[in-house]
Symmetry: C4
Subunit: 221 residues, 4 copies
């Protein structure tokens, strides 16, 4: 084995962080793979909406939709949530300049939660008025945001983020994501009392990003 091959071998074996330009193809494959899982999961959400069978002729739109209200609401919630998660993932990975094997492992774990969303959304659609359906859904979302938190923290600590964005990821994106975990976590005990109120807590996550970012930016300027 020559010197050259040994050092290349070292790099591959040890999983030393790689620069996104130097290993452009692999980095873009990780990003493309993640996007693929997101795109498939978000499109499969709609399959949880049942098409009622054997309705009589001259059925009305109301009859077609009847009994699907839960499924349609679950679709709307999940599409919005997965869309938001994808945007966050998209922003985070555009700030990452290198990756290592831990980040890749965490990303695969993260995608394992994302791929579960269509099934969890089906549970929410079918059992959204029971504490069980709401808690199952919220628990997956807590897992998603905590895994994303681990990605942000690891990338920050291991210096995998572009220098000019490090403070931002650590002090703005991180806390904003952490708040999502907290909202879903708090909704779990609430669901035991009222599943509807628990569900109404979730839209808060769509308002957390900006105010927090503003406050933090104000504090630090």
């Amino acid at each position: 084995m020559t010197e050259g091959s040994k050092s290349a071998a070292e790099t591959l074996r040890r999983g030393h962080p790689r620069h996104r330009d130097e290993w452009g193809i692999e980095f873009s494959r990780i990003v493309a793979f993640s996007d693929g899982v997101f795109a498939i999961a978000i499109t499969l959400l709609a399959l949880a909406i049942d098409v009622p069978q054997n309705l009589p002729p001259d059925t009305t739109v109301a009859e077609v939709l009847e009994g699907q209200t839960g499924d349609i609401l679950a679709y709307a919630i999940s599409f919005a949530v997965v869309g938001k998660l994808w945007l966050s993932h998209h922003r985070f990975f555009s700030a990452v300049e290198r990756f290592d094997s831990v980040l890749m492992g965490l990303n695969i774990l993260y995608l394992a939660w994302i791929a579960l969303v269509p099934v969890t959304s089906e549970v929410l659609g079918d059992y959204g008025e029971d504490p069980a359906g709401v808690i199952t859904y919220a628990a997956i979302m807590v897992a998603v945001s905590l895994t994303f938190q681990a990605q942000i923290v690891h990338a920050y600590r291991s210096g995998l983020i572009r220098p000019e964005l490090r403070d931002l990821e650590r002090h703005v994106v991180g806390p904003a994501n952490f708040l999502i975990a907290i909202v879903f976590l708090l909704s779990i005990p609430v669901a035991l009392v009222s599943p509807v109120v628990a569900t109404l807590m979730w839209p808060v996550i769509f308002f957390t990003g900006r105010p927090l970012a503003d406050r933090l930016a104000a504090l630090r300027s």
Copy 2:
């Protein structure tokens, strides 16, 4: 926080429009994500065609296809419609040179309608002779084209379109898309009287683009 990181933070937080070259990876990810949703939705359309079970041995092709006429017609219509929508989306995004958070949000809403098409197409296949099936399908298409309209108008007003294509998008692509919304909207009251006639109105959308474009080009030259 340094000056550099603060200005980068500002940009990310406020969602100032970003140039497609400067932020190449993200722009291509949005486009790839949209294409992914389109590709999955268009391929899932075929799953709405039921394979009849437990037919007797020496069954004929006619017996295999029997009862699937509605499903096959719905597949043909939906593949053509989604294909056309994808081409429009493809043309529109090749004219966009920057994006902002509103355009991204509208695009996710747009994709939420697209991902609903396979289920809506199944409804059309099963209830295409009832007003309900046709109206459900047409309503989704009105929602799709109005959301696309909002994307075009917003991109035009916020100056996100390449300068040399702005007039085109505003005065040709926009009206052509708006006509699609009108065709599907008009088919809704018609479906109450005759679902078949309503369905026969839809192919008009495949002829709207060119004549309108020709007329507008003639007016302005």
Copy 3:
């Protein structure tokens, strides 16, 4: 409307052929979209294999597989066929240097047949011993290859193929693809007599490409 915008408008409206470098993003989107449909269709093939339910405890592998032989054979055939079609599509589009709206329309029609393969493969798995299942499958494959033929012929006639590959596409790739259409077409009457013999004709398509290419190359050198 300025001169510049008018000429850009003209180009977009008339669908003049575009060079792959000049309009790189769109060309790569068409290719990526096609690959997406292929990848989804080929992966969905496996979903046609039923998992038997409610087998007794201590069931054997034989019992799990029992009754799935048809499904598994259909999967093997379809994966090989779709894989071959993808390779042909891949080679063809790497020879295309420009595209126009006719080629895009034909490509969408082509993808509409490809997206039907998972359902057709399910029919073959369930009714592969009946003429009906085999004929349905063969008919879709005839449609696929004739649509691909139309793409090759149109691209050749409209000068959309890289100059150095025009003769090749016209005189080698075209005839090789045409032979696939013929093999599947001939298997249709044969299936009326013996579905098994008809199915055994199909592997011929995996041997057509090379000998034909060799003979043609020999003739012309």
Copy 4:
């Protein structure tokens, strides 16, 4: 036919290995197609988790999850295994600098096994306590790793790997992958005695890569 077209024709026909830069689009399409199949297969894994229907109101989380333990465990195992396979595939193809038709054929065969994993995972979820379910799953994994082994060996022998990584692929990646085949192969006879013990053998594959690589690196330095 000109000289130029004849030589281009030769190259296409004979499938001479192509350099990844020279034929960049095709190489990236193969990689993207493979990633697409991986992303779809890994996301479809979750669909094997059944959502229980018709549970009574005020059902508990325990009741929703009841009977799904096998499905959820199978999902966790399969996501980890497919994730690891994707990482290996990803590393291998980043070391490949050229491809030929044999490598492409082997890759399609490899993807045919990968696309089977969702169905096989469903079998494991439903029959994971029977030898049959465990053996079916292990057999597919043996097929996956042997096909990957064939890709590594072929690429090495035909000089398709970047020179500086040849020894690594041959002496580190190859043996590490071979060990995966052996682990799953050995679990088959064990499953006949105890399916649970057989399943517990599988996590070994997550520890094989590094120690082996370390030992080999130590031997050769």
